[in-house]
């Protein structure tokens, strides 16, 4: 898919098969879609993706838009606007290992003759230290959305040049104006997720729906919780009917009391959810939704649910920084990530859902159809986001967390 075509003649059959294999779309799925929306509409996005390495105007925000797709516009030769500064020769990205699909990086490098260098971290807090006050030497990284306002205020994140981001139209409607960054002025949403409970059905021979299952003494020493004070307190507060972002110390104390009751039952507090759940020692755990798919590679029927009491959602963003050495390349890369095809490739790699409506065409249907990874909008609206709390509030939580863990 990184080859450029002028659209004149492509071996559709070959491209199609290659595309289907790459994205694990079954023939049956494709046929179903053709039946549903018509041949042109079903195949057009695929052809578009095959014939240009960037997003095209034919990618519409909603998934079923036959009228737009029927007129297969000539594939845009280049995803970037005509008059734009040329990119610097390099781009420095700071992220987790394997967070970006190799194809996505390669296609960017090829298209713009930019050498991409990735640097790694293992927790977001580390990332923030490395980024510092102006981005360090990094051009691109992925701050958590709730941390963005603070970083903007400190002058860490640079404003986006929308003229260089035509692919931004690919974003779903619900992401057009997020609370943490109105109008997506400084950042663009990247991935979003839910936090809930995962379990191995072979061990837990029932179907729990409540987060109280993590307090079930029957699974003593086979329960895990995330090693993240905000997530753990969030889950507990919601279970007790409070807000996950409560500033009320009495409520915090209640949550602490409940967590202390749970402690003897807990095997480990860990954010290595994949390692923990696949080791077999933990049967039910507090995990991020997308991890379920990774765990399923080892435990095929591993289940995940958002607790009935309510759950937590979160998202991260792509951002470039005020001190970034390659601002033009950074902007182009952000645009590149917004491309439907690329966003889908990333989702298919790490299983996290993107905010990219156009990408839904290309995402592995198993992920797309899973209501726990990709819940309906109404469910998503009910989930609470863990906000960046005020210092004094955070300190209150942290001291209780220390008490719990001591």
């Amino acid at each position: 898919m990184t080859d450029r075509h002028d659209g004149s003649s492509i071996d559709l059959e070959k491209e199609l098969v290659r595309y289907m294999v790459e994205h694990r779309i079954s023939r049956r799925y494709l046929l179903e879609r053709i039946a549903l929306v018509g041949g042109a509409a079903a195949l057009a996005p695929i052809i578009a993706a095959c014939t240009s390495s960037g997003g095209s105007a034919s990618a519409a925000p909603s998934s079923a838009a036959p009228s737009v797709a029927a007129s297969v516009a000539p594939p845009s030769a280049s995803p970037s606007p005509t008059a734009q500064p040329s990119p610097e020769g390099a781009l420095n990205i700071l992220n987790w290992t394997d967070y970006l699909a190799d194809d996505v990086i390669k296609s960017f490098e090829d298209q713009f003759s930019v050498k991409v260098t990735q640097s790694f971290f293992s927790t977001t807090d580390e990332m923030y230290q490395k980024i510092g006050e102006d981005g360090g030497d990094y051009d691109i990284s992925f701050p958590i959305s709730v941390d963005v306002p603070n970083m903007v205020e400190r002058g860490v994140i640079a404003k986006l040049d929308k003229s260089m981001l035509p692919n931004i139209v690919n974003l779903g409607q619900e992401w057009a104006n997020p609370g943490y960054d109105p109008g997506n002025t400084y950042t663009v949403p990247y991935m979003w997720w839910t936090t809930g409970v995962g379990y191995d059905p072979k061990r837990i021979k029932e179907e729990p729906t409540s987060s109280k299952a993590l307090w079930d003494a029957r699974w003593k020493q086979h329960i895990s919780m995330l090693d993240d004070w905000q997530e753990v307190f969030g889950l507990t507060l919601i279970q007790q009917g409070h807000s996950a972002n409560s500033t009320n110390t009495a409520e915090m104390d209640q949550a602490l009391a409940l967590l202390e009751q749970q402690k003897p039952l807990v095997r480990t507090y860990s954010t290595d959810t994949i390692g923990t759940m696949t080791s077999g020692d933990v049967w039910i755990g507090h995990i991020w939704g997308a991890d379920r798919f990774a765990i399923q590679e080892t435990i095929p029927d591993f289940a995940y649910y958002i607790p009935e009491e309510g759950g937590v959602k979160g998202s991260d963003t792509v951002a470039t920084f005020t001190g970034s050495p390659h601002p033009v390349a950074a902007q182009l890369f952000i645009n590149h990530l917004l491309d439907a095809h690329n966003s889908a490739a990333n989702t298919n790699l790490i299983y996290y859902m993107g905010p990219n409506a156009a990408a839904k065409e290309f995402i592995d249907p198993a992920i797309l159809s899973d209501p726990t990874i990709n819940p309906d909008q109404e469910i998503v609206d009910k989930l609470e986001e863990l906000l960046r709390l005020d210092q004094s509030v955070r300190d209150e939580y942290l001291s209780r967390w220390q008490q719990l863990r001591g």
Binding site: D125, E126, Q221, D227, K263, L398
Partner: protein, 305 residues
């Protein structure tokens, strides 16, 4: 015969040199020691001072470090009783790890030295070889060995010693096992280096002098290898006290260490000043304890000569 030259130096007892030719010796000492001291002062002490200054500060509304109102508040906060259990955990793990590493390491260092022959260096390198792999993967390997349906449990059940899996992972046991494993080379190497320079004639003489091999060992070999034992103890206990990764990965809810608290304050808590203060408190406590222990040990060793 170097009679004119520093006779006082010959004694291993602690009388300091004070004569004129000692000036040359002192200059020579400076030449040897200066690169190391200079390096540590520039690249360790100075950065540490920066962090010390940070520990006197606080955070502004945006979580940036500010020195607007320097104070010792963070140090007062560092003596919060909430840290006592984790501090005790750290001490406990470090102590047990050190004792085990010394106990396990001494015989093997002895074996390599006495029976290794031509292959001594090879055997020592073999001790280190496992540690030129990734720490994380070694830890995962221990998880594979120790987990409920892991190798150890399977073997125990196969030999009929247990009827169902016993919980080995995420316990004090797994932490101590993992830490001892990780620090064993740090004990074996200095022990070996010290044992290896023992003159076999002395050992033989000792065996002649004392009735049993055990007494010979206790009264000859052991005291002579004391510097090695002290070095091994230092290289094990001190870093073990600050080890938070092993208890974190192999441990459970009850194995949180003070080092983890400090880490959390810096990163999750975004509170460099507080984390720094707690870190310094830990360092001072550890340093004091270590210096006292060393001084006591030296007094006893010197007295026993």
């Amino acid at each position: 015969m170097g009679a004119a030259v520093q006779p006082a130096e010959a004694s291993a007892a602690s009388t300091p040199v004070a004569d004129a030719p000692g000036r040359i010796a002192r200059l020579r000492a400076a030449a040897l020691v200066l690169p190391g001291v200079g390096w540590l002062v520039l690249f360790f002490i100075v950065p540490l001072l920066l962090i010390f200054v940070v520990s006197l500060g606080s955070r502004d509304a945006l979580d940036r470090i500010t020195l607007a109102n320097p104070s010792l508040d963070n140090y007062a906060k560092a003596f919060d009783p909430v840290f006592i259990p984790t501090f005790l955990n750290s001490i406990r793990f470090a102590t047990i790890t050190t004792i085990l590493s010394l106990a396990i390491g001494y015989p093997i260092a002895y074996w390599i030295s006495r029976y290794g022959g031509r292959h001594k260096v090879l055997l020592i390198i073999l001790v280190m070889l496992p540690f030129w792999t990734s720490y994380l993967i070694r830890t995962y390997s221990w998880i594979i060995l120790l987990r409920d349906n892991g190798v150890v449990n399977s073997l125990l059940q196969a030999f009929g010693l247990t009827s169902e899996p016993i919980i080995l992972m995420n316990t004090d046991l797994s932490v101590i096992l993992g830490m001892t494993y990780g620090f064993l080379p740090f004990a074996i190497l200095p022990l070996f280096v010290s044992i290896d320079r023992l003159d076999p004639n002395l050992i033989a003489a000792g065996r002649d002098l004392y009735a049993s091999g055990r007494d010979a060992f206790l009264h000859v070999t052991l005291p002579l290898t004391m510097p090695g034992i002290v070095a091994a103890a230092l290289l094990t206990f001190i870093p073990a006290l600050g080890d938070f990764v092993t208890p974190d990965l192999l441990g459970g809810p009850g194995t949180t260490t003070i080092a983890k608290n400090i880490q959390e304050l810096f990163l999750a808590g975004r509170d460099w000043p507080y984390g720094a203060a707690l870190g310094f408190v830990l360092m001072i406590v550890t340093l004091t304890g270590t210096l006292v222990a060393l001084r006591t040990l030296r007094r006893e060793v010197a007295g026993g000569d």
